[in-house]
């Protein structure tokens, strides 16, 4: 069982991801925006971060940019509705490891998470 932080401002999408990953037997913590995600990341270590690109308060990109050195080793899946190259490059530079474009398939997410962990 791994600890995973799911950060997305859309409650329903959060539910979808949480349900999917919980079925794999992981311990899921939810964050409803960027600031919340950073707060929760600071409270306890996580094995994986699933973060949405477009979020209020702090965007996914800003979250990645503000990670501590220790947190940087954690694998990151970034969800993005805008699959633009430019955004991807910036996210990659900030430390994103994988991308999933919305709408995404829970099965693919499952496979990716299994693969990473």
């Amino acid at each position: 069982m791994k600890r995973i932080l799911v950060a997305d401002d859309e409650e329903i999408l959060r539910m979808l991801i949480t349900d999917t990953l919980e079925d794999l037997g992981h311990d899921i913590t939810e964050a409803e925006d960027g600031a919340d995600a950073l707060r929760k990341l600071g409270e306890a270590p996580f094995d994986l971060l699933v973060v949405d690109y477009m979020m209020p308060e702090k965007t996914g990109l800003e979250v990645l940019q503000q990670l501590t050195d220790e947190q940087r080793n954690m694998p990151v899946i970034m969800l993005t509705a805008k699959a633009q190259e430019q955004d991807r490059e910036r996210a990659l530079a900030a430390g994103a490891d994988y991308f999933m474009a919305k709408p995404f398939s829970p099965e693919e997410l499952e496979a990716l998470v299994e693969d990473i962990l």
Partner: protein, 926 residues
């Protein structure tokens, strides 16, 4: 007579003069030199004599000295010296005798010589013998004898002689000095003589040349003045003589010529007189030709029709004067007339000229001879009148103009008419030019007008990069020298310059376009310039540049792409949910609760997606202007009530409608207006998650109807207010994140309200709630005044009714009578409002559906002291329930359906009363 050249004479005289001077100079010099020599010779002789005498005298002295010494001391050396002196004396004497000597000197020499011989042969040996004998006494006496005296005498003689010679020498020097002074004076005198001789010579020569020249000059002056002349110099045999003679000859031949000329002159004068006449004739012809060429020039250079007509008419009248004349253009009836009355001109202008056109097309002239008419009589009564008509035609024979002339009492000569006709054919060509020019100018003006009317800036640029033509829009854009001025104002001049240069260059073949921006005030303006080469008969004549302001389009492009990206983002989120949960349902074995949860979510998200698409399409339709608005007379209070009644199931919020507008008729599309209301009310409900009051107010103010929807919800942060009515602007804060919405509702509201000529705005305080205000123009002004007055005086009546149409009916009736009406749909909300502000009366429906039971409300009102005195009118479809009526003391019970005025009557009777409950009467009172 033999001529002698002046040059030869001059050379000869000069030579003679120079020779004379040379000879005299040589003679003088020779004399002087001789004289000098003589003097020097004499001096030399004298000095030699002096030296010789001096030497002899010296030696004599020596001798005397030595011999005496010998006598005294008997020194042999002295004797030898005396002997040496003797020999030297002899030599000196020899030398002296070689010289030229005076008598005295000669005598002295002879005397000395004899003494010397004597001394040598006698005295000295005697003395020597005495010495040898040591006879001192003898010696002493010998010395005192005559020899010494003789020596002394000689010695004195020698000294005397030396002095004489010295005196001679001195004298000789002085005389030489005198002589050289004389010689110097002589030389100076000679020099002066030569100078004066030269002066005299040159003066003579000059006189010989100048006098005749002056004479000639004077003569030529005299000749010029016509006087008789005589030149003395003519008798000379040199060049001046020749000159003088030829001058004389010339003068006499001139005189002769002059006389001849005079004769000829008189003859010429006679000829000139006859020529003068011819000249005047020619001059007249020339003037005529000049006048014609002036006319010709006017015709071939001027392009103004009026100017041409003036010139032609003036010319004809000047050269071919007639009693009356006119010139008339056929197309414009431009007219020139001479000696014609206004009536005449008018009648000609109005006359049908078809006949004239016909006749002049066939013939080149028309001549009418007639007796004088009434109109002609003023000029020459009873005379014969000749009218002459001819036409100006183009190459095809089409008539441009008609020329007519009238002579009274005389006819037109054939020659005159032919000249006029020839002139007219010239005029034809000139007129054709003018007409063509007018046509071209007209079409050019039209073209420029078309170009100037076009919004795009258009320019034609020549090969050298200069602007050949531009329209107004281009001039306004560039404002100065092209392309410098343009390059100065654009944001990226290098790129534009490169584009321009590339297009102007001869190699560029096709067309291309370029986009550039510039700052205009505070905003940025986007221009697109399109360029293409222009060809005329395969020859490139330049390059066209067309500038188009694309600011609006480029802004729209930007907005469109932004919108697309926003919409795609908005669509992706619900789609992700729908797809994700569907996949989970399909792929996994799930518990029934979870299945239901997922399906509910899918349904919700699909609905959200549908709303989003609907809203988006609505907005697109509205913005694109393709949304049809069916404007009609709409009672807004009715519309509000109907809309509110749709929300009557909302249990969490207290919905109420306060209507103070007397009349609420607006020109609107009811369906769209309802959309606005629905959006505003549902927003109010959505964004006040904690419940509270949602109040809709309708009031009239001046010419506007003011509708407001207020809530007690989250409120809107100040920073967001400005963007609130824009598309997809949702306030992204965690407390309202889960409130669904498309972000399009308010944009749609604004669009609709503005299409109705109204305004929408918001007032809000974060955490306390928001008020959305909509202002719409009232259909009829004056309504508002009524409403306000009535509302001000009116008392409030609550209507608690769940049937919108009935509530409206009641409300209308009450408002007509000046009441302010507040609608409620729920028992609870009505009761709490009554406690706060007790109304003058309450109209209560018994069957409120979800809102509760009317009897329940009545009961609770009666139990509360604050509300128990409010008169109640029961409005019910049910028959009167007597037991309840009794129980609560109902004032009036109205059974539906009842005429509305019955209600108002009931309310009026009891309003402000003591808590009566009104029952509806079965029948109207009789």
């Amino acid at each position: 007579m033999k001529n002698r050249s002046i040059r030869a004479s001059y050379i000869r005289k000069s030579a003679l003069f120079i020779a004379a001077v040379l000879v005299v100079t040589a003679a003088v010099t020779g004399y002087l030199m001789y004289d000098q020599n003589q003097s020097e010779e004499a001096q030399k002789q004298l000095s030699e004599r002096y030296e010789a005498v001096d030497a002899v005298s010296e030696r004599l002295n020596e001798l005397f000295f030595h011999s005496r010494s010998y006598y005294a001391y008997q020194n042999e050396d002295d004797l030898r010296s005396a002997q040496l002196d003797l020999r030297a004396l002899s030599v000196g004497l020899d030398r002296m005798e070689e010289l030229e000597l005076s008598e005295e000197e000669r005598r002295f020499a002879l005397e000395l010589r004899s003494f010397l011989i004597d001394y040598e042969t006698d005295i000295l040996p005697t003395a020597a013998a005495l010495v040898a004998a040591d006879d001192y006494e003898g010696l002493r006496s010998f010395g005192q004898e005559g020899s010494v005296a003789q020596i002394n005498g000689l010695f004195d003689q020698a000294s005397e002689l030396r002095n004489t010679v010295f005196a001679d020498l001195q004298q000789e020097y002085e005389s030489a000095l005198d002589e050289s002074t004389t010689n110097l004076l002589l030389s100076f005198a000679f020099g002066m003589l030569v100078f004066f001789a030269i002066l005299f010579m040159s003066q003579r020569l000059l006189r010989q040349l100048i006098v005749p020249v002056e004479e000639l000059t004077e003569a030529s002056d005299k000749l010029a003045e016509g006087e008789t002349i005589d030149i003395e110099a003519a008798s000379r045999h040199d060049e001046l003589g020749v000159l003088g003679r030829s001058f004389m000859n010339m003068a006499s031949s001139l005189q002769q010529n002059e006389e001849e000329m005079q004769a000829q002159n008189e003859e010429l004068k006679a000829q000139q007189d006859s020529l003068q006449d011819l000249l005047e004739e020619a001059d007249k012809e020339k003037r005529k030709v000049d006048r014609f060429s002036l006319l010709n020039e006017t015709m071939s250079t001027r392009l103004d029709r009026q100017e041409l007509l003036d010139a032609v008419f003036a010319y004809v009248n000047e050269l071919y004067p007639s009693d009356r004349s006119m010139f008339c253009m056929m197309d414009t009836l431009d007219f020139r007339a001479a000696n014609m009355t206004g009536t005449m001109i008018e009648s000609w202008q109005q006359a049908d000229k078809t006949m004239w056109v016909q006749r002049l097309t066939d013939d080149k002239r028309v001549i009418i001879t007639r007796p004088a008419e009434e109109s002609d009589k003023g000029i020459a009564p009873a005379a014969e009148i000749t009218d002459y008509y001819t036409a100006v035609k183009d190459a095809e024979g089409h008539i441009y103009a008609i020329f007519a002339a009238t002579n009274i009492g005389s006819r037109f000569s054939e020659e005159e008419m032919e000249e006029i006709e020839a002139l007219m054919s010239h005029v034809g060509i000139g007129l054709q030019r003018v007409l063509i020019h007018e046509e071209i100018a007209k079409s050019r003006k039209l073209s420029q007008k078309i170009l100037d009317t076009v919004n795009e800036g258009i320019q034609l640029i020549g090969h050298d990069g200069t602007c050949l033509q531009e329209n107004r829009a281009a001039a306004e854009l560039i404002q100065g020298e092209w392309p410098e001025s343009l390059l100065q104002i654009v944001d990226e001049p290098e790129e534009l310059e490169k584009f321009i240069e590339g297009m102007i260059s001869q190699e560029s073949a096709g067309s291309a376009s370029h986009e550039f921006t510039m700052q205009h005030g505070e905003s940025s303006v986007v221009y697109s310039v399109y360029s293409t080469p222009v060809f005329d008969e395969n020859q490139r004549i330049g390059t066209i540049f067309v500038y188009r302001d694309r600011t609006r389009e480029s802004e729209l492009d930007r907005m469109k792409s932004e919108l697309v990206s926003t919409v795609s983002h908005e669509l992706r989120t619900p789609l992700s949910s729908v797809l994700g949960f569907t996949e989970l349902l399909l792929k996994k074995e799930l518990k029934p609760e979870r299945q239901k949860k997922y399906i509910t979510t899918i349904h919700k998200e699909a609905k959200r997606l549908t709303n989003l698409i609907n809203d988006f399409l609505d907005l697109q339709r509205m913005e694109s202007g393709s949304q049809p608005y069916r404007m009609e007379n709409v009672q807004l209070d009715q519309l509000v009530l109907e809309t509110i009644y749709q929300f009557r199931h909302v249990a969490t919020h207290e919905l109420l409608f306060e209507d103070t507008a007397g009349g609420a008729a607006v020109q609107a599309d009811g369906e769209r207006m309802q959309q606005v209301l629905t959006n505003l009310i549902s927003n109010a409900v959505k964004f006040s998650p904690a419940g509270g009051k949602v109040k809709v107010t309708l009031a009239a103010k001046d010419d506007t109807l003011q509708l407001s929807v207020s809530d007690e919800g989250l409120g809107i942060p100040e920073s967001e207010k400005a963007r609130l009515f824009q598309k997809f602007q949702r306030i992204d804060q965690s407390d309202r994140r889960n409130i669904g919405g498309t972000g399009l509702g308010l944009a749609i509201c604004r669009e609709i309200v503005e299409k109705h000529g109204g305004r929408i705005s918001v007032e809000s305080e974060e955490g306390k709630g928001s008020v959305f205000n909509v202002e719409l123009p009232l259909r009829e002004s004056g309504q508002a005044v009524d409403g306000r007055e009535q509302a001000a005086n009116g008392e409030t009546v609550f209507i608690v009714e769940d049937d919108a149409s009935l509530a409206l009916l009641l409300s209308e009736e009450l408002k007509t009578n000046g009441y302010r009406v507040v609608h409620y749909m729920h028992v609870d909300s009505a009761l709490s409002a009554m406690k706060e502000n007790p109304p003058s009366a309450a109209v209560i429906d018994l069957m409120l559906g979800e809102g509760g039971n009317g009897w329940d409300l009545v009961q609770r009102m009666k139990q509360d002291p604050a509300t128990k005195d409010i008169p109640i009118v029961i409005s019910s479809a049910l028959d009167e329930a007597e037991e309840k009526t009794e129980e609560f003391g109902i004032t009036r019970y109205l059974t539906k359906p009842y005429p509305p005025e019955r209600l108002s009557r009931a309310v009026m009777e009891h309003a402000g009363g003591n808590g009566d409950i009104l029952f509806p009467e079965q029948n109207p009172p009789s």
